[in-house]
């Protein structure tokens, strides 16, 4: 034990890390665009900022996606082993970028709210104050959201390819810090939004502390922060001790917090409800993909040899997550809170793919993530459209009879809900099927039964909303479904298309995942 530790500490050999900047291009492009975005904020005149930022955001995200596509087939460790660029990593990066593009479309929307976009005109003004009113009426826009978003995307792109605990931690913070801010910037119901941001920040820091503590223990155990080295140490030392077990647990806590797994889920409903809805859509989709990417890599690459130890723990977490998410969703009366609990349940289902700990589980989980992400983007996008005089009409009673006033919107929302419920011919079904069969293959039949039971309860939740929209009478003061600009329209169209196409012809994507292979060790 002490030998391992001192050997690496005392080591005086120093080699320069080689960095293949080309392979890191997606991350670098987005990061550079974010930095330029800050400069735009500093020097560009007020009126020019939004158009410039939009060009930067969409330009960099698309360029980064092209870079990811061009890297298809690369499989290497980089930066002295701190970064692993491999098939699943690239697929996850591509997914994050596409989700971000759609998310950015939602954030760019200016037609649905008569006062401007979904963000406070000036986030620093006191809610309800004269200042706030003035800034708002003069049509100010908080264009800092764009660099913030790009920084978050940078973190998300690093998250699934980080192959080193320290880089993983940096990625986690780069992803989270901008999100804490974005959450607090809603134009309407600002107190709720700010409270959510503060909660998210405090709890997020708390979870980071767990992660860091776990990393320290893992370093103490193995003498390295590199995934590969830790895995070697575990393999070479079959008699585990407290250090490694607690370390695995603590790192898991930090990561499970980000995906909203129970009992680390409690921030989710508050934050999803309080955040500006486009931000909710973006983070519900993209953070899940990135964080699950990291979880998959950590549990496959580092802890692969320890699976008999962590599988029971994840069983408990997955069961809690699925059941709490589904059951609590039953009594929710706010659409955004309901979707938040539903996303908790969905995270539990995806955990089954992690627990399976086989290539099938990996592929299933990634498929499920992508399917879930686009469906979620779509659901929240629809939420932004249903409004009354006070902003979004999120109370479920307002959604009654929506099909009568706006059949198209209701139908689209119903398609998303059916996908979340896992009805065949939607992407959600294929995702569930892929993950569940992988779990059964790995011998987790009881877990799958619990999952189906939870999805049954969840189906009740979704079914209730569908029935409400299609069969109930509209309330006395029905909300209006506003006609959005091309941004949101396109975002919803893409989400519907992905949801349906992945449900009917999933094969191309499944083949892609097959080709992507498994994580590099």
């Amino acid at each position: 034990m002490s030998g391992v530790l001192s050997a690496s500490v005392v080591a005086d050999t120093f080699t320069l890390p080689t960095i293949d900047y080309g392979a890191l291009a997606p991350v670098l492009i987005v990061a550079a665009a974010a930095v330029i975005g800050v400069l735009v904020e500093a020097f560009a005149p007020r009126g020019a900022r939004r158009p410039l930022q939009l060009v930067l955001v969409f330009g960099s995200l698309i360029a980064a996606f092209v870079a990811v596509v061009m890297h298809a087939g690369i499989r290497q460790l980089d930066g002295g082993g701190a970064v692993a660029i491999d098939g699943p990593g690239l697929v996850l990066q591509g997914a994050v970028l596409l989700i971000s593009i759609v998310g950015a479309m939602l954030m760019a929307e200016r037609m649905v709210d008569p006062a401007g976009d979904a963000f406070a005109a000036r986030a620093s003004t006191l809610p309800g104050s004269e200042d706030e009113r003035q800034f708002s009426s003069r049509g100010f826009l908080q264009t800092e959201i764009w660099p913030l978003m790009l920084f978050a995307v940078t973190g998300m792109l690093l998250f699934p390819i980080a192959n080193d605990l320290l880089l993983l931690f940096v990625a986690l913070e780069v992803m989270s810090l901008p999100l804490y801010l974005l959450v607090g910037m809603a134009r309407r119901r600002r107190l709720l939004s700010q409270e959510a941001a503060l909660k998210y920040f405090i709890l997020g820091s708390f979870s980071s502390a767990f992660f860091l503590f776990g990393s320290a223990l893992l370093y103490g155990y193995s003498g390295s922060i590199k995934f590969g080295k830790i895995a070697e140490a575990i393999a070479g030392n079959p008699g585990q001790n407290m250090l490694i077990l607690v370390g695995v647990g603590m790192v898991a806590v930090g990561l499970l917090f980000k995906i909203g797994a129970a009992p680390f889920h409690q921030w989710t409903p508050d934050v999803y409800q309080g955040a500006p809805t486009p931000v909710t859509a973006f983070m519900a989709a993209a953070v899940k993909v990135a964080a699950f990417g990291a979880i998959l890599r950590v549990f496959y690459v580092i802890f692969g040899g320890l699976r008999w130890d962590w599988q029971p723990m994840l069983w408990v977490i997955a069961i809690l997550t699925m059941l709490i998410g589904a059951i609590v969703a039953v009594t929710q009366t706010d659409v955004k809170r309901m979707l938040a609990y539903s996303s908790i349940a969905q995270a539990g289902f995806i955990l089954l793919g992690v627990i399976a700990a086989n290539p099938a589980g990996l592929r299933g989980a990634i498929f499920y993530l992508v399917a879930y992400a686009f469906t979620t983007l779509g659901t929240f996008a629809v939420v932004t459209l249903v409004r009354d005089s006070t902003g979004e009409a999120t109370h479920l009673s307002k959604w009654a009879g929506l099909a009568k006033t706006s059949p198209l919107t209701a139908t689209v929302f119903a398609i998303f809900l059916l996908s979340l419920a896992g009805i065949p011919l939607t992407s959600g079904f294929i995702g569930k099927f892929a993950v569940f069969t992988a779990a059964i293959e790995a011998g987790a039949m009881p877990l799958v039964i619990v999952a189906l039971f939870a999805s049954l309860i969840a189906a009740f939740v979704y079914g209730r909303v569908i029935v409400l929209m299609f069969f109930a009478d509209p309330p006395a003061d029905p909300p209006a479904v506003v006609v959005p600009s091309a941004f949101t329209t396109l975002a919803i169209a893409i989400s519907v298309a992905v949801t349906v196409v992945l449900g009917i012809i999933p094969q191309p994507f499944l083949t892609l995942l097959e080709q992507a292979g498994v994580f590099i060790r």
């Binding site: 120093f14 930095v35 800050v38 400069l39 500093a42 006191l126």
Partner: protein, 119 residues
């Protein structure tokens, strides 16, 4: 586990010192309270007024403090680079320039947005 023994000893010493000093002062120190002493301690500045009745929450102090930390931490990174300058060679120089450049961008933003002005 002998490598951890010194850490444990240090931990014990630290805790003992803290307990010892707090206990000692609570016995030996005079207790003469006035208004200022009863106020919450906020880094030596006036305690913040509560945001009721439209009272603003002054963040100027914290803003400046945070900016200080940002640029302070920058220096922390420069030290090891300077120590290992020879070994890192050109690679290190370029990386460091990128790093300083990024921090400069932040500086530019803060400056343009008048974050450096007190009033």
């Amino acid at each position: 586990m002998n490598v951890y023994a010194p850490i444990l000893v240090l931990l014990a010493l630290g805790a003992a010192f803290a307990i010892f000093s707090v206990t000692l002062t609570s016995f030996t120190g005079p207790k003469r309270y006035n208004r200022a002493k009863r106020d919450a301690y906020e880094c030596g500045i006036d305690p913040t007024p509560q945001p009721v009745g439209g009272g603003h929450f002054p963040v100027k102090y914290y803003l400046t403090a945070m900016l200080f930390i940002v640029f302070d931490i920058e220096i922390v990174f420069l030290y090891p680079w300077a120590v290992a300058f020879d070994k890192l060679a050109l690679f290190g120089l370029i990386e460091m320039l990128i790093f300083i450049g990024t921090v400069l961008v932040v500086y530019a933003y803060v400056w343009r947005r008048r974050g450096l002005e007190w009033e």
